[in-house]
């Protein structure tokens, strides 16, 4: 039996002390240990992006990060994108523009969109499509996702929202 490691991870602004196997994936840590099941697993080769979260404010695919690598870091998941009871403009955009159907890719897609708009607050359609290359959706054909992100970008240009514990 492998020795467990002690880690301290701040997730959505709340600090957690946990004992984990070195091989435990960050996505499993979030879902199975912390019960934050909004982040989803859609593949096993880092293609699909359903597991996208922010690690110290930058988007990562949490299926390809070990929980021990997040020791001492801040993680933001879909649950922490906006204060409870409110919606981030990106979430609102997805709702307004029907940017989701089954919803499974959606948390990852929203977190990836967050990074996209952080890097490029006024993206063209082409830039949005390129920026979301790492997130696969089987339901929407992406068209309304593009519209959702455009809607969010416009809303955010008039005032920004900070997610809980976003880090730098």
């Amino acid at each position: 039996m492998t020795m467990k490691r002690e880690i301290t991870v701040t997730v959505n602004g709340k600090q957690h002390h946990s004992s984990v196997e070195p091989r435990l994936l960050l996505v499993h840590y979030l879902r199975d240990v912390l019960d934050l099941t909004g982040t989803h697993i859609g593949c096993d080769t880092s293609q699909c992006g359903a597991c996208t979260v922010l690690l110290n404010g930058e988007s990562v695919k949490s299926c390809t990060v070990l929980a021990v690598q997040a020791d001492g870091c801040e993680v933001t998941t879909i649950e922490g994108l906006a204060p409870e009871g409110s919606l981030h403009p990106i979430q609102e955009g997805f709702w307004e523009k029907h940017g989701l159907q089954c919803g499974f890719c959606t948390p990852g897609m929203i977190m990836a969109s967050y990074q996209l708009l952080k890097d490029n607050p006024n993206p063209t359609e082409k830039e949005i499509r390129k920026g979301l290359e790492g997130n696969i959706c089987r339901c929407t054909g992406y068209q309304n996702i593009v519209r959702a992100v455009q809607h969010a970008a416009e809303q955010m240009r008039t005032g920004a929202a900070e997610p809980v514990g976003a880090g730098e």
Binding site: C102, R138, G141
Partner: protein, 779 residues
């Protein structure tokens, strides 16, 4: 109606708040006290004998609770269900027990299961199971698998062909038609199409949680499924429990596309394990399992021939479909061609003569079954390619060849030469709208110009119909009606219980729109529940583009029953005759005296509290409807695709994509467009990049998303959509289904564009750069 018409409004979805905040519960989000995890050991070979299975090391790993093999399971659990066994399948060919016993027949075939405390330990233990396999040659190419020297999956049957069928028996009549057409100066076109094997790849893989309570002898089963009631009924029979002691709950489902319209070994195995151990058991499929063990779609080799007069009027069509069923029959594997391809091979066209034949063949691959379109994409692809070949042969415009062959609006209900009766349609109107939206004349002029510059540009048209809204009596061995129960509580709130099982289609919104419209009440006072066999009257689930036409009609008719009772109650409250009571904007009033009224909520309270209810009226306020269609419905449309192909690299790009679709009355246009976008993306995916690939030995080479190409945002254009509305007389909503239409219509549009771009009769899919480059540099 005072309130802005709810039905037909593009309102935001009621589903979304929980989905966009990560608060929805999918099956892997379910955690039960004492829950164990199940892992499946699968064959790494496409075809092999199993000499022995040694589970000792696995059983002894700390944290492992049980390991089960075929010996433990197959005598206790029945066979994996086949809805309509045909040919040799009715004699047992291709019908399997949950675990492979003497042989494995596809890469991914389940051999044993491990149950452990956590998912990591279950996988560790799985790796310790030793199986002595004797690899056998594999039957991979479907036409080679039909040859006498092919490796046999089922030696006892002496062949890999489960059924060969010809309708009518001989080609005598169709041959005469073709001869006559040729003699009169017409043409015959023919082509061989590989409608390649696809993986559905719903973003959520499959998963099950089974919880058997030994005290009550009751099994509760959560499954990422499209068919809660059918799953309950079939699973109960297979594991030996009475149906009323099996409770199936379908939580949020992350996509299905037909791949979850099935009953799988893993559902049976998880239930079995829970019944043995008396503890909750969870199994979650990982993606590489999903690529191998969840059904694949399509995989037909189609031979189509069409005869046409020199004016382009098609006189007859022949289709021979070779169906690659994979290694076993799942629920509908063996009826894809018979029930879904055959009926619509004439497409949108008035074709007087047809001949259809098929071979259903087993190969050492994953079982095939329904995947978005399920048999209709194959038929549509064949007839749409044939129409283009006729145009090409005669030097005519493909739009005009379609136009002169269309079934005309005054011919409906129209009986095809296949015997299928189409409900309603106006195909020319959709074609004209698409041509206008595309500015077709300018497109052709631009094409000519670009061709003069040496560029490869193609324009492809697809004028499709499809058959959905299943279905009427006799269509399947169990009636495919749908249920709806409307309950109005003491607060005047409405709960709609639907036997439909949406997984992204949005019926929590559209069904609420139906009820809001019928009663003139705020949509916020209505909630739609689905996916629970104990809460919901016997239903049939979501697939086959049936949820709106069939499920919606059940909601509508239940609402009418409710209206009658409410009017009766209101009539007593208003001291009027029921026939004088009108309902508008949520108020019941006496015709001509609108000042005297009672509200929806007041009637609901009266019914539920009963003390002031008129004697002779039963208290409570509920209405149930089981609605069964008398016919299928036929959405249709025209798609136009423009592609440009780079001569140097073979890379193709879709520069424009136009879609005009008709699904009858639209309940929510925003949701309809979403279905079409997603449908087109999958159809384009098939045409451009997707395809399951096996090695000759049966190794699945596209076993992860690293190898199976999926459409991504940067590789798809934005689609230009418009619509026509031709209501159906088949149901009270006038609505047809739309979930699969986009997929069905799009693949041939891209194919026709590609053949046009390369100036060849046919190019096989997918249109990968290497494939196109070879075609370009051959000619």
């Amino acid at each position: 109606m005072g309130i802005a018409a709810m039905l037909g409004s593009p309102i935001k979805r009621r589903e979304d708040p929980r989905l966009i905040t990560g608060q929805a519960t999918y099956v892997d989000d379910i955690k039960l006290y004492g829950m164990l995890h199940l892992a499946v050991l699968r064959s790494p070979y496409g075809h092999a004998r199993i000499n022995s299975v040694n589970v000792d090391a696995a059983r002894n790993l700390p944290g492992v609770v049980a390991v089960y093999t075929a010996e433990d399971v197959n005598s206790v659990v029945g066979k994996v269900a086949v809805a309509v066994p045909v040919g040799k399948i009715a004699e047992g060919m291709g019908v399997r027990s949950p675990l492979a016993q003497d042989k494995v027949r596809f890469f991914g075939d389940p051999v044993a299961v491990v149950i452990a405390d956590d998912r990591y330990t279950a996988r560790d233990a799985r790796d310790l199971i030793e199986v002595d396999y004797e690899p056998l040659p594999a039957a991979i190419d479907v036409e080679k698998a039909m040859q006498p020297d092919a490796p046999l999956l089922y030696e006892e049957f002496g062949t890999n062909v489960a059924l060969s069928l010809s309708l009518p028996d001989t080609t005598e009549e169709i041959d005469k038609v073709f001869e006559q057409t040729k003699a009169d100066g017409g043409v015959v076109v023919k082509t061989r199409i590989v409608n390649q094997r696809l993986a559905p790849v719903a973003m959520e893989t499959r998963g099950v949680v089974a919880d058997f309570n030994k005290g009550s002898q009751k099994l509760t089963l959560w499954s990422s499924s499209q068919i809660p009631h059918i799953l309950r009924n079939v699973l109960a029979a297979t594991v030996g429990l009475p149906t009323h002691q099996v409770h199936v709950i379908v939580p949020e489902v992350g996509g299905g596309f037909g791949s979850k319209l099935n009953i799988y070994p893993e559902e049976l195995l998880t239930a079995f394990a829970s019944m043995k151990l008396g503890r909750p058991i969870k199994w979650i499929e990982d993606r590489s399992e999903n690529m191998a063990a969840t059904i694949h779609g399509r995989d037909q080799v189609d031979y189509i021939e069409a005869a046409a007069t020199k004016d382009g009027k098609v006189t007859g069509v022949k289709l021979h479909a070779v169906s690659d069923m994979g290694s076993y029959s799942q629920l509908f594997t063996d009826v894809m061609v018979l029930a879904f391809t055959f009926p619509v091979v004439c497409g949108a066209y008035d074709i007087p003569a047809v001949h259809r034949s098929t071979d259903l063949v087993f190969t050492n691959k994953t079982p095939t079954d329904a995947y978005r379109g399920a048999g209709r994409p194959e038929a549509t692809f064949a007839i749409e390619r044939a129409m283009d070949l006729v145009a090409r042969e005669l030097g005519k415009d493909p739009a005009e060849v379609r136009r002169i062959n269309f079934i005309q609006p005054d011919q409906f209900p129209y009986k095809s030469s296949t015997g299928t009766v189409y409900d309603s349609g106006n195909y020319e109107a959709a074609l004209d709208k698409a041509l206008a939206l595309a500015d077709y004349k300018s497109l052709r002029a631009e094409q000519a110009q670009k061709r003069a510059e040496g560029k490869l540009v193609g324009i492809g048209i697809s004028s499709y119909i499809e058959v959905c809204g299943i279905g009427p009596k006799g269509f399947a061995p169990v009636g495919l009606f749908e249920s709806a129960r409307l309950r109005v509580d003491v607060g005047g709130n409405v709960t709609v219980y639907t036997g439909s099982s949406p997984h992204g289609q949005g019926e929590e919104t559209t069904f609420a729109q139906i009820v809001a419209e019928e009663f003139g009440i705020p949509i916020e006072s209505i909630v739609v529940l689905h996916g629970d066999t104990e809460a919901i009257p016997e239903g049939r689930g979501t697939y086959g583009s049936r949820t709106t036409p069939v499920g919606g009609s059940a909601v509508f008719t239940a609402a009418q029953k409710l209206k009658e009772k409410m009017k009766l109650i209101a009539s007593h409250m208003l001291e009027a005759s029921p026939s004088d009571v009108t309902l508008e904007d949520g108020k019941f009033s006496v015709a001509g005296s609108p000042q005297k009224s009672v509200t929806f909520a007041e009637v609901a309270a009266t019914a539920n509290l009963s003390n002031t209810l008129h004697p002779g009226i039963e208290p409570g306020l509920e209405a149930t409807s089981f609605w069964e269609p008398e016919a299928n419905v036929f959405p249709f449309g025209t798609h136009i695709c423009v592609v440009e192909v780079d001569k140097e690299t073979g890379e193709a790009q879709i520069t424009r994509y136009i879609a005009v679709d008709d699904c009858g009355r639209q309940l929510n246009p925003m949701l309809v467009q979403g279905q079409i976008h997603g449908g087109i993306a999958q159809g384009v995916g098939q045409a451009m990049i997707e395809g399951v690939v096996y090695g000759e030995d049966g190794q699945l080479l596209t076993a992860t998303l690293m190898d199976y190409a999926m459409p991504i945002a940067s590789e798809l254009p934005s689609f230009e959509l418009d619509h026509t509305v031709t209501p159906t007389p088949v149901n009270p909503l006038g609505a047809k289904g739309v979930g699969e239409a986009g997929t069905i219509g799009s693949t041939p549009a891209v194919a026709n564009a590609m053949a046009d771009a390369l100036g060849v009769a046919h190019v096989d899919m997918p249109y990968k750069p290497e494939n196109l480059w070879k075609v370009i540099h051959q000619s």
